[in-house]
């Protein structure tokens, strides 16, 4: 009897191992382990056996069923892994066959430089102020120690507008010299300094980025419309050493720790002492960057601040220039060409 069980098991095992697919295996399982299988049939005769044989025979059948189930599970795993492998093999992709092009967008180079500059100054404890691009003569010149007769004004090559306020009571706005106040395109972002000083109490630590306008014919280094960032600090006990220190901190934060800066005397009507600041590259060459100086007492007074109580410094330079310097652009006009082939490079 035991031989019959062994024979049935062997036959069943052969069929299980021979199953070539999971479906086939399931079909085999149904036959060899099912109710109509040989082992099931042998189990039905268990009751008819003598008691002393019954135990051994039952054990043999159970062992056979267990062995068969284990074999089936093992075969199922084998077949499953083979099926996964063959699917994986069939699914192979060449990842360098790429049809899609990058679709990222592009912030304008001026924006990129602008935001980088803002971030550096934010790190130094500055906030960012903005103001109108169409300005009055007062904010662009007069409050900055440049009355109408000031010869330095001619160097700003101002673009004037025909905008006039309609109100009849324009007498309030007439300048002291009797001229009608002119509305112009700001030639620098300094008017924002005045607006800041008029609107908030010191201490002031602010930068003013923005678009400015000059009556300059476009060439490789000039555009009639360009961008500047200026800084203004007003506090108690601010000295020229703070100006030099701030310029140097900015230089190192923006360009790198191996850049240095220096100040050398220059002249601006709105600062005194005034300076030009230069940046030295690690290779020893210099870049002339911008102007700066201690805020002129007349400017403080024009903004209602007592020069004996408050002192401060201001600085300014071109944003476009920073972008050109960083990316090696030798003609500024390219930056404003809006040629997508230029924009996509950055």
């Amino acid at each position: 009897m035991i031989e019959q069980v062994r024979g049935a098991l062997d036959a069943a095992l052969t069929r299980v191992v021979a199953a070539a697919t999971l479906d086939e295996l399931r079909a085999v399982d149904a036959v060899v382990l099912g109710k109509k299988g040989e082992l099931a049939r042998l189990k039905t005769i268990l009751g008819s056996l003598p008691v002393e044989e019954r135990k051994a025979f039952g054990l043999a059948i159970n062992e056979a069923v267990g062995a068969l189930q284990a074999a089936s599970t093992e075969r199922a795993l084998e077949l499953d892994s083979a099926e996964v492998s063959s699917r994986i093999a069939a699914e192979r992709l060449d990842l360098t066959e790429v049809i899609a092009r990058p679709t990222r967008g592009h912030a304008h180079l001026v924006t990129q430089a602008w935001e980088r500059l803002e971030d550096v100054f934010i790190g130094l404890g500055f906030q960012v102020a903005e103001g109108p691009e169409v300005e009055t003569d007062f904010y662009n010149f007069e409050a900055l120690n440049m009355p109408r007769s000031h010869p330095a004004r001619s160097g700003f090559d101002t673009l004037f507008t025909d905008y006039r306020q309609l109100e009849a009571d324009s007498s309030d706005h007439t300048a002291a010299d009797g001229h009608e106040p002119s509305v112009l395109l700001r030639t620098h972002t300094s008017p924002v300094q005045i607006r800041v000083m008029q609107s908030i109490e010191p201490p002031i630590y602010m930068v003013m980025p923005g678009r400015v306008f000059r009556r300059d014919t476009p060439d490789a280094t000039h555009m009639p419309v360009f961008h500047q960032i200026e800084g203004l600090v007003i506090d108690r006990n601010i000295t020229m050493a703070h100006l030099a220190g701030t310029i140097d901190s900015f230089t190192k934060a923006f360009f790198g720790g191996d850049f240095t800066s220096r100040l050398r005397p220059n002249y601006f009507p709105f600062t005194e002492p005034s300076a030009e600041f230069d940046i030295q590259r690690p290779d020893g060459t210099w870049i002339e960057l911008g102007g700066c100086g201690m805020v002129h007492p007349n400017v403080l007074r024009a903004c209602g601040l007592d020069p004996d109580e408050w002192s401060g410094f201001a600085f300014g330079f071109g944003i476009d220039r920073m972008a050109r310097e960083r990316h090696g652009i030798d003609d500024i006009r390219d930056m404003y060409s809006n040629d997508i082939r230029f924009i996509e490079q950055f």
Binding site: T103, R104, G105, H106, A107, V110, T111, E115, E118, F121, L124, G125, F126, Q127, V128, E130, P132, E133, V134, P151, S154, L159, F160, T161, D162, Y163, Q165, L166, V183, P203, Y205, R211, T217, V225, D235, I238, T239, M240, A241, H242, A244, G245, D248, S249, R262, R264, P265, N266, Y267, P269, E272, P273, E276, P297, S311, Y336, N338, D339, I340, I343
Partner: protein
């Protein structure tokens, strides 16, 4: 300003190391743009004698020249000029010579015959404009020597200095030398021997009519003059400084101006009407022919110098009259040295459009008390060529009330110097820095110094001006560096943060940022169907481009057309910038605002709408999409106004086809424009946490037929309202027009998801919500599709 090094060394010893001197000058605020070597010769060009010349039958434009460079060797040279003959001495550039224009002379063969150098014209050697022929040198000069020797050329080192407005004194070599000397520890000695009026009394009278415009006017009469060329050294220096030598009298006049910053004029006394001067304002419309032969019409704001008979002989400080120059026969001159009020000088210069060496100096400010030493220096220099020069007694020195004192006192606080500069100077330290440049500390009263400002520094008048002088001579590089402790919190304003987020969203969606022109033409406005009511620039750089943009549409459409011309289509562009509509002109400044414009080329209005929805979601923007109000210039049936309350805050849709045609844009252009001054100004609500449901959702689809006249948005709103809190998601997934749907309607298919946060919804609950939605939508005229 051209500063000649040898000239400086005449005034105070500064040395000969030009780069080092330039660096000191730059550190003092006299920025040296360039160090020039004027009058230097070209190495390798030597004198040679022409032996013979010969034409070559096959060369029409050149001939053969044989020369001897003093060594007895015959050298053959091809030459394109024919002005020399045997015996002439000419400059020969030997092979290997680098010419001023960068050319290197090589023995280049013509017709197979080598040229052993090149014969030079004056122009090729940088000696003038003459390029018509070879420079012929003196016949008796030595051969084989540098041509410069034969010509007596001597190089001058010249600094091209960019001077700032606060240093008028540096427009004379004396001022530069004084500053430089102080820095080098060397003091400048007074120039010019004292004046010795040994002659009889002869005066050139002065009638100072409009004295407020002319603080001081001096004359002195000099006779015994013989007009002749200047000595070589003076001519050379004047040339090095950029002036053309004329004759000894004019040259001395210019020399004194360049040395002492004291413009002056020598009049021939014999032809000076009435033998004197009258200084008065011009009459409106009065004319005078100036030195350059141009007839100038004066205004009542221009100052004239007239002769004693009131005949105008010059525009004061700006330019002399046509016949004011001295001539070869002049023997007696009236030397005039004056100063003029600066701001009116600027006005006259601008009005007349004349800039001269003298007017520029008067405009910046000359030494109002420098006339006597300038007269003395003039006499001293003119004596070099006119030993019989007589200085007549009777000098006139007319001053008006507007003449400032020779030394103007200003109070300077030692504490304020240190407060501004961050230094720890004491009174002695300050005096040691400013006294060498002529600022005398007259009194010390504790913290307060009384400092006299010298008359050659009209730019200085206040304490801060003195602090600047201290800083310059203390050295900007010695001031040190300290970082201030900002008491502000470094950050962007909420609006600036939102603007950055907006840019990130747009760039993340693949859009490229452009910056288009702020200035437009009138025709661009018309082409874009925009109102012609705009702000104009009164002095535009390009005639016609004088409109301040009220919209970015023209600029961006031009950009699209430009890129299309390079076969770059389908661009997605945006611009963030200011626009300047004129508004109602009731405010001091126009209602300038910041806006965003987006153009999606090759896409239709739905793309613009999708982007708007994206921005609503990302930025928390909110506005009503009103298709009944079509913005001008946009596609009438595919565009909408975006409004908040009664205010328009933007537009969305497509550019009008005829606008596209005007700008030469071939593609459709989806368009979105937003008023960021409005939209970014609103702080969006901060999203508050809501529990996500742990219970299953029920999803189902509903399709409605809705008349085209009813916006889908209305249906959408109605469904949301009816769905209430249980409707957690609503998505339009299909729009169908065609068979089975009426002609003037469409089918809108939505997927809905219902979900509660506290339970699994029963079939009855779901059915009741569905019924409610269907009920509400029916009221809108929507019909549920089976």
């Amino acid at each position: 300003m051209k500063v000649v090094l040898s000239w400086l060394n005449d005034i105070v010893p500064v040395g000969v190391d030009a780069p080092a001197i330039a660096e000191v000058m730059t550190q003092l605020g006299m920025q040296v743009e360039e160090i020039l070597h004027v009058g230097s010769t070209v190495d390798g060009v030597i004198t040679a004698k022409v032996l013979r010349t010969e034409r070559h039958p096959d060369a029409a434009k050149v001939h053969r020249v044989w020369v001897d460079a003093g060594d007895g060797v015959e050298r053959h040279v091809w030459c394109g000029a024919f002005n020399m003959q045997a015996g002439d001495v000419i400059p020969l550039a030997t092979p290997g010579t680098t010419m001023p224009d960068g050319r290197v002379i090589e023995p280049r063969p013509i017709l197979g015959i080598e040229s052993q150098g090149m014969l030079c014209s004056a122009n090729e050697l940088g000696l003038g404009d003459d390029h018509t022929g070879i420079l012929i040198l003196a016949a008796d000069c030595a051969l084989g020597v540098p041509y410069g020797e034969a010509l007596g050329l001597q190089a001058e080192v010249v600094f091209d200095v960019d001077l700032t407005r606060n240093r008028p004194d540096c427009w004379g070599h004396l001022g530069v030398a004084r500053d430089l000397g102080a820095q080098l520890g060397r003091r400048v000695e007074p120039l010019g021997a004292a004046l010795d009026p040994a002659g009889s009394v002869r005066s050139a009278t002065v009638d100072l009519v409009d004295g407020e415009r002319c603080p001081r006017f001096t004359t002195i009469v000099l006779s015994g003059i013989v007009v002749q060329p200047s000595p070589g050294w003076m001519a050379r220096r004047l040339k090095a400084a950029g002036m053309r030598p004329i004759n000894n009298v004019v040259d001395v006049s210019n020399y004194v101006m360049l040395e002492l910053n004291q413009p002056n004029h020598a009049y021939d006394l014999d032809t000076l009407g009435g033998g004197g001067f009258r200084i008065r304002l011009a009459l409106d419309g009065e004319t005078i022919v100036t030195l350059d032969g141009v007839e100038r019409t004066m205004s009542a704001d221009d100052l004239l110098i007239c002769d004693a008979l009131d005949v105008p002989i010059g525009v004061a400080g700006i330019m002399g009259g046509l016949h004011s120059e001295i001539t070869d026969t002049t023997a007696t001159v009236a030397l005039e040295i004056a100063c003029f009020e600066q701001t009116s000088m600027t006005r006259s210069m601008n009005r007349l459009g004349i800039r001269s060496e003298a007017s520029g100096r008067f405009e910046r400010g000359v030494d109002t008390h420098g006339m006597p030493p300038a007269q003395a220096r003039f006499v001293e220099l003119l004596r070099e060529t006119c030993p019989d020069l007589v200085v007549h007694a009777g000098a006139v020195d007319e001053r008006s009330a507007s003449l400032p004192p020779a030394e103007r006192p200003v109070l300077v606080r030692v504490s304020q110097v240190n407060r501004i500069l961050g230094t720890t100077l004491d009174a002695d330290g300050i005096a040691a820095l400013i006294e060498p440049i002529g600022f005398q500390v007259a009194r010390r009263d504790g913290d307060v110094l009384t400092v006299g400002i010298p008359s050659w520094r009209p730019d200085s008048s206040a304490e801060i001006d003195l602090i600047e002088e201290v800083a310059r001579h203390y050295g900007y590089s010695n001031i040190g560096a300290a970082v201030p402790n900002s008491t502000m919190h470094g950050r962007l304003s909420p609006m600036q943060q939102r603007r950055r987020l907006l840019r990130q969203v747009l760039v993340g969606r693949g859009l490229a940022e452009v910056i288009t022109d702020s200035f437009l033409s009138e025709s661009a406005l018309a082409e874009a169907h925009l109102s012609d009511d705009a702000i104009h620039i009164t002095n535009p750089l390009v005639a016609g481009d004088d409109v301040l943009r009220p919209s970015m549409r023209p600029g961006i459409l031009r950009t699209i057309a430009f890129n299309e011309s390079h076969r770059r289509t389908g661009l997605s562009l945006f611009e963030i910038g200011h626009m300047y509509p004129p508004g109602d002109r009731r405010s001091a400044l126009p209602p300038e605002f910041e806006g965003l414009s987006v153009a999606l080329a090759g896409r239709d209005a739905t793309a613009a709408m999708a982007l708007w929805r994206e921005l609503v979601s990302a930025m928390g923007f909110g506005a009503r999409v009103d298709q009944s109000l079509v913005p001008v210039g946009l596609h009438p049936t595919r565009s909408a106004t975006l409004s908040v309350g009664r205010d328009v805050v933007g537009a969305v849709g497509e550019i009008h086809p005829s606008v596209l045609a005007s700008f030469g844009v071939a593609e459709r252009v989806a368009w979105l424009e937003l008023d960021l001054s409005r939209l970014l100004g609103v702080e969006p609500k901060i999203a508050q946490w809501r529990a996500t449901s742990r219970y299953p959702s029920s999803d189902f689809d509903l399709a409605f037929v809705l008349a085209d006249t009813v916006p889908a948005e209305k249906l959408d709103k109605a469904i949301r309202q009816a769905g209430g809190n249980l409707l957690v998601d609503l998505a339009l997934f299909d729009v169908y027009r065609g068979t089975g749907v009426a002609d003037d309607a469409r089918s809108l298919a939505y997927r809905l998801r219902l979900q509660a946060t506290d339970r699994t919804l029963t079939d009855i609950e779901v059915a009741s919500v569905r019924a409610k939605i269907v009920g509400v939508t029916t009221k809108l005229g929507a019909q549920l599709r089976a």
